[in-house]
């Protein structure tokens, strides 16, 4: 559907724009003593022409102009169309003149049809104008659409970021930690204070790092270890941590807090379900230009497996994909006794110039 026809107020404005054209025709071609005849003849015809002019839209869609389609290729079609429209104008004028005449109300419009070439030329030239205007309209709406798309995708990225942030601070974790602090205040005030400080540091980290793009593996590991230290207070000897990274890997950059959901998953869905607990193992290496980080934990074999990875893991995968394309990957292996998450991204120690 033509965008002008689809909208009543736009259509009204469009038809109003044709009124001056009709008036120019009345004044230019009418006679001083027969304005009524000229108006009765030209104004309805102009309105009819307004609708014919809309057909230029489809012509413009059929013959788009861009780098692959130069204007001259569309010219023959436009010429033919303009000529047809000119002829149509002459035919319509002739018919309308006959109708007005037959009404016998003293109108003598035959004089206008006696010069068909004038009508033909006016019809054809106006149609070319309509074509030109339609090209402008199509181009501007296309640029508007692409602007809107860019805006939308920006919003989506923002939303994903927010969701990721919210997922990073798991309410279960927060309330359990607060409960540990509350319990420790009675029995071991200094441990309670230590827990408070750990929690404060961790929350500060997540808030500060949410905004920045990339941080070093070293920094990322220290955030994760802070989280694990808090969980160690809560779970006691059931949780142990083994964190290793090669020297070159430590300098590599990762999206901030990318490991956090993996480690949280290892604790909440792994260690916390084992009576005797276990060790969360984190290892970072550089291999063949790739930074590979593995987070693994023992898991309860009797526990029903989840059919799909949880939301936290899906967000990690989504984030890797949007930041690195196919080069950013998360592999998950959910085995009988062990759960393994492997992150692989291109190794880089400096932020690449963004091409956005």
């Amino acid at each position: 559907m033509h965008p002008i026809l689809a909208n009543a107020s736009k259509l009204g404005m469009y038809l109003l724009a044709y009124l001056p054209i009709g008036i120019v025709l009345v004044i230019g071609l009418g006679h001083r003593d027969a304005w009524g005849t000229a108006a009765a003849f030209f104004l309805p015809l102009t309105m009819l022409y307004a609708f014919i002019g809309l057909s230029a839209y489809y012509l413009c869609l059929a013959f788009p102009i861009d780098s692959d389609h130069p204007l001259w290729r569309a010219m023959p079609a436009h010429m033919c169309a303009a000529a047809s429209v000119g002829a149509l104008c002459v035919g319509a004028a002739w018919l309308w003149a006959a109708v007005l005449e037959s009404l016998n109300i003293g109108l003598q419009p035959q004089v206008f049809v006696e010069q068909p070439w004038v009508l033909f030329v006016v019809g054809a030239v106006l149609f070319w104008l309509a074509i030109a205007l339609h090209y402008v309209m199509i181009a501007s709406s296309a640029s508007q659409r692409s602007e809107q798309r860019a805006l939308e995708s920006g919003l989506l990225a923002r939303e994903a970021e927010l969701k990721a942030l919210r997922a990073q601070i798991d309410p279960h974790f927060l309330f359990n930690s607060l409960n540990s602090i509350s319990a420790l205040t009675g029995s071991d005030p200094s441990a309670a204070r230590k827990m408070c400080l750990l929690l404060a540091d961790f929350l500060r980290d997540t808030l500060r790092l949410g905004a920045t793009q990339r941080i070093s593996v070293n920094e990322e590991l220290s955030v994760v270890q802070r989280y694990l230290a808090i969980e160690q207070v809560r779970l006691g000897p059931r949780l142990t941590v083994n964190c290793t990274a090669s020297e070159p890997a430590r300098a590599g950059l990762v999206p901030a807090l990318i490991l956090q959901p993996l480690v949280e998953n290892a604790v909440l869905h792994g260690i916390a379900h084992l009576l005797d607990g276990g060790t969360v193992t984190i290892n970072a290496e550089c291999r063949n230009g790739a930074l590979q980080i593995r987070v693994s934990n023992p898991s309860d074999q009797a526990r029903p497996r989840r059919k799909r990875p949880g939301l936290g893991l899906l967000l990690v995968r989504q984030r890797l994909q949007s930041e690195y394309g196919t080069a950013g990957q998360l592999h998950i292996r959910d085995e009988q006794h062990e759960f393994v998450a492997d992150v692989s991204i291109p190794f880089a120690t400096t932020e690449e110039p963004s091409n956005e």
Partner: protein, 249 residues
């Protein structure tokens, strides 16, 4: 405080600090005597069976068996229960639907005392906890992945795919799995609902069959049929059971 008013309690939580906190709050209540502390669901089921406490402080998130599963297993031995949880929207929903009191971690001494007072009233009036309804709301009609069976103080966890068939025996069901039979206090109808969509079919008033164990169907006399399982066990098939089975195969 005389002996008759003394109440016994068990504290169940996988976190030592959380148990210590409840103990600390209980010091203000001379009428409550803590019989045991349990750090997981298995211990809780065993302790509840052995010690028969009046009151249970029960955490929801625990390894192996969560609070609801513990409740499912101790069923009729269930004392009055005070649930504790940090954050679990499903649990909270179930509690709210059935107006069951619970403690949200972290909780203060005042809130704790309030919950304890409510529990005392429930114990005095022998107001039973709506266990079945609570469990149903918590599961939200979802099929189960494993069946929990309590055998004196032991707990067996049987993944549903290991079950061959289930037979009704009065108020119990006998669950046949991995060459053994387990008795559970439950109706066959209840279990049928829980196993829906897991490849099980009620083939007879008294039997639910794991369809993957079926070897063949034979016609016995007087146009009744019997199911022969892979291990040569024979089970009767009712007429409606047969038409359901045919619809499935």
């Amino acid at each position: 405080m005389n002996e008759a008013n003394q109440l016994t309690a068990i504290v169940v939580d996988d976190e030592a600090h959380a148990r210590a906190l409840i103990r600390e709050y209980l010091m203000q209540h001379a009428d409550i005597k803590v019989l045991a502390e349990c750090s997981n669901g298995f211990e809780a089921v065993k302790a509840a069976g052995d010690l028969k406490p009046d009151l249970l402080f029960l955490d929801i998130q625990m390894p192996k068996l969560d609070g609801f599963e513990v409740l499912d297993l101790i069923g009729h031995d269930a004392a009055s229960v005070i649930f504790t949880t940090a954050y679990d929207e499903y649990a909270l929903r179930a509690f709210n639907v059935h107006a069951v009191d619970y403690l949200l971690k972290p909780f203060g001494a005042e809130r704790f005392d309030e919950a304890l007072e409510l529990a005392r009233i429930r114990i005095r009036t022998r107001d039973a906890l709506p266990i079945r309804e609570l469990l149903d709301t918590h599961r939200e009609g979802a099929a189960i992945d494993r069946v929990l069976i309590r055998d004196r103080s032991n707990v067996h966890v049987i993944p549903v795919e290991q079950i061959d068939y289930v037979e009704a025996q009065d108020d119990y069901v006998s669950i046949r799995a991995a060459g053994r039979s387990y008795l559970k206090e439950q109706t066959l109808g209840e279990l049928e609902v829980q196993l829906a969509g897991k490849g099980f079919l009620r083939i007879h008033r008294r039997y639910i069959l794991n369809v993957s164990r079926l070897a063949k169907i034979e016609l016995s006399e007087k146009d009744s049929r019997i199911a022969i399982l892979n291990d040569k066990t024979q089970l009767p098939i009712s007429r409606s059971g047969y038409s359901k089975l045919r619809g499935l195969l």
